[in-house]
Symmetry: C2
Subunit: 469 residues, 2 copies
């Protein structure tokens, strides 16, 4: 990417001056409310006399054109009818705007003559003038650390290491929302829709050089320019973990991408081969993408696949073992000396001398078992099931459990992951969430089920293995 384009993109991702063109009461001035948290100046451009009073009531200064704004414009969000969009693009060029997001849809994805013609017009204009055009048919940029949002409910009270590139506005919004709940916070997010000018390859390049972005996630529907995308991806994936969720994997999915962003189907065997070759982590949906990102945030490089599973008993431990084996991970027996140590204080007969292993009857035993797991040469990582029933009935014991887990985390470099279960009443959801937040703050990720924990860990070990070879 040329330096001038990069500099301008940087300005747009961290803008000091944002202009919303075409704000409307109809959608409750959604974009204006979204950017109201910006650490910088927000203006409106609107010529409809019916809309202007409402905008001014919000305390936003309204202009009749970009030229009237006498400061450098870093970022324009444009939500005008599609027929008017070429005029706004021209205005952005004339006023040297650093980047513009075209929210408007109804272009080539509609497969109408008008739509296709308009697509050609705006693309040509933007390319000729080197304008950073994002979209059309997208939500643009989210950057919580400067208060730039594309939805009025989005957070600004957290920032994290994940850059997210999305061809879909709703999936970009889903990432912001679900990421917040899961502690997978964003550096920056961009929804780029039809991607006529700036596309996935450009944003991969941008996030690769962005120092705050340590992990890159992407939702991609199609790749019109395959070679530059693949070449960029290959380079970027060497530097930072990249997780890609491909939308339109299936026939009907691809039919939807075609009408959504005008994307053509990509042969799925070709796609899978390319992703494997680049060492990209694939996700089938948003949940998996968030799960893997959560793992990457909290668990440093590790390639061992031998899991110690703990916390379940009886038939539950069978289910846990099946879940991890299904995911392709190993659940070996502990070393003989570990079982000997456990036998010295543990009087239970049977399944506790196996793996999954029982976590003991009291704090002393639990600490001893965690110490044994930290030392055991047969074990690379530990996954523990948390019992809520216990935690809610006996808060003191829960505090002790937490303390022991945090000690393990301090002492051992073996990854520790928790499975929280979903089998609790809805009125306990907040307590469970608070507990998860507490563990995350200490670098311990948690998942609702063993299945999800196992899948995320498997994808992590595959990733670290690929890039360590």
């Amino acid at each position: 990417m040329e330096t001038s384009r990069l500099e301008k993109l940087n300005r747009a991702f961290t803008p000091k001056c944002v202009v919303v063109v075409g704000a409307k009461k109809e959608n409750d001035y959604s974009f204006l409310r979204a950017v109201s948290t910006l650490k910088g100046n927000c203006y409106s451009v609107q010529i409809d006399p019916n809309e202007i009073p409402g905008i001014e009531e919000m305390g936003i200064k309204n202009f009749s054109g970009l030229a009237e704004i006498h400061e450098p414009i870093d970022y324009v969000i444009c939500a005008v009818p599609r027929g008017i969009s070429p005029r706004i693009v021209a205005d952005c060029i004339k006023n040297d705007v650093a980047a513009v997001t075209l929210y408007t849809s109804g272009f080539a994805e509609t497969q109408t003559e008008d739509g296709i013609r308009l697509s050609g017009d705006i693309t040509e204009m933007a390319k000729a003038a080197n304008l950073n055009l994002i979209g059309p048919n997208c939500m643009g940029i989210f950057n919580p650390s400067v208060g730039l949002r594309f939805g009025p409910e989005q957070y600004t009270d957290a920032k994290g290491p994940v850059g997210f590139i999305s061809q879909s506005g709703s999936n970009a919004g889903g990432f912001v929302q679900s990421g917040y709940l899961n502690g997978v916070y964003a550096t920056k997010v961009v929804s780029f829709g039809n991607g006529y000018v700036l596309d996935a390859a450009d944003f991969l390049e941008y996030f690769a050089q962005d120092e705050d972005t340590k992990i890159i996630g992407a939702y991609i529907e199609g790749v019109p320019r395959w070679r530059p995308f693949f070449d960029t991806l290959k380079e970027v994936a060497k530097k930072k973990p990249v997780i890609i969720w491909k939308g339109g994997r299936t026939g009907v999915g691809a039919r939807m991408t075609s009408s959504h962003t005008g994307s053509l189907a990509v042969d799925s065997a070709l796609w899978d081969a390319a992703m494997r070759q680049c060492g990209v982590i694939q996700a089938s949906n948003l949940e998996q993408l968030i799960d893997v990102a959560k793992g990457l945030i909290h668990i440093g490089p590790f390639t061992g696949t031998r899991m110690a599973l703990t916390g379940g008993a009886g038939g539950q431990s069978v289910a846990i073992a099946d879940a991890f084996a299904d995911a392709g991970l190993d659940v070996p027996l502990l070393s003989k000396s570990s079982y000997e140590k456990i036998a010295s204080f543990f009087v239970l007969i049977g399944s506790s001398f196996n793996n999954p292993i029982d976590m003991g009857q009291n704090r002393r035993e639990f600490i001893a078992i965690m110490d044994i797991l930290a030392e055991d040469q047969n074990i690379d990582a530990v996954v523990m099931q948390m019992s809520f029933v216990m935690s809610l009935r006996n808060p003191q014991r829960m505090e002790e459990t937490i303390a022991t887990l945090l000690e393990f985390k301090e002492k051992s470099n073996k990854p520790l992951t928790l499975a929280m279960g979903t089998n609790f009443p809805p009125d306990q959801a907040q307590a469970v969430h608070d507990l998860e937040v507490r563990f995350r703050e200490h670098g311990i990720p948690s998942y609702p089920s063993f299945e999800r924990a196992a899948l995320a860990i498997k994808k992590l070990t595959d990733y670290y293995k690929f890039h360590s070879e």
Copy 2:
């Protein structure tokens, strides 16, 4: 099953007199507290003078032996050290107890000489005397409608159509708990552990003839007597839907079942073939079992695989389409005339004329679309995504949406299923749950994700297809 055995089992599943042998303060008299809700008489047999005062403080009458109880004993729960268990079994035989659950573990599953010898002893005694011995190493019977529980937190305020047979106590408890949260209520549940006398085949037979049980679920670790199990299953599966979760599918899982209930591994290809031949629905874990049971409860026989998906927009609708196609369901275009009808009131361009389809901008449009889906000959069933953000911001609109869905349910015999999403803050979990309960009361099942809805529906259509051929 002989009539006398069946009659006795019936007495045990709906007991008027229950005796807990070996109640202990150590576990807070768990079984006594569990049966405290029984509509009938509960007694204790305990000879340890240290334990008796605590038992009597609970208002439970204690005896020093079964012979002292001068009424027919329908069900005994026995939690004594393994060495004492033969004496209790003998006492049960002598006093003509209808059935006994042996909670005690430490038998052949430990692969110790003592354990194996004791297993032989109690099995021989029970078989010779035709005693209904449940276990050992299990939790026994749960029947909410008579207030018989095996855990003091279990419900008695609901009953449903699902009979659950489990080789594991923790998974039986998991079914009770998760089933309650999901509205998948039990007729009766039995945890039978090592199954030396009564095993899966017996309980399949029992639930097959039990009129209240409309659906049978099972968690099975091993099948020592393959032929009677298979023959019974084949017959039972013709009469009622049977969902089986096989524990120990994998190598490590099987290692765990061996130490848990002493079950031998079953070749998984053989198992799968047998299940297919019987038309049994297979589940990989508790979640899937509950999901399928929920579908069976609310959705009557249907074999059509052509889904209309509605409620998502843009990239979300791509994800939805992929999820259903991945599960092996069809997501066809609507008929031409349906799109023509939609076009008469719908002005959006592009993805709304596809499937997944947009649900409209207002109530009038939404009703019209649901009517069109009810009529469309290309569509067999409807799955809709509920938006919580909408519901919480606009309760009136949510009420209108609910009314429209209930009207659809009244008018159309096409199954309607909801996907609720998991992407909401924990403080809204209760509101979401309440909404799900409301829909269930009107026969509309809901799932957290499209993936889970799709998998459950696919398993249902496969099941109904198999048994309609």
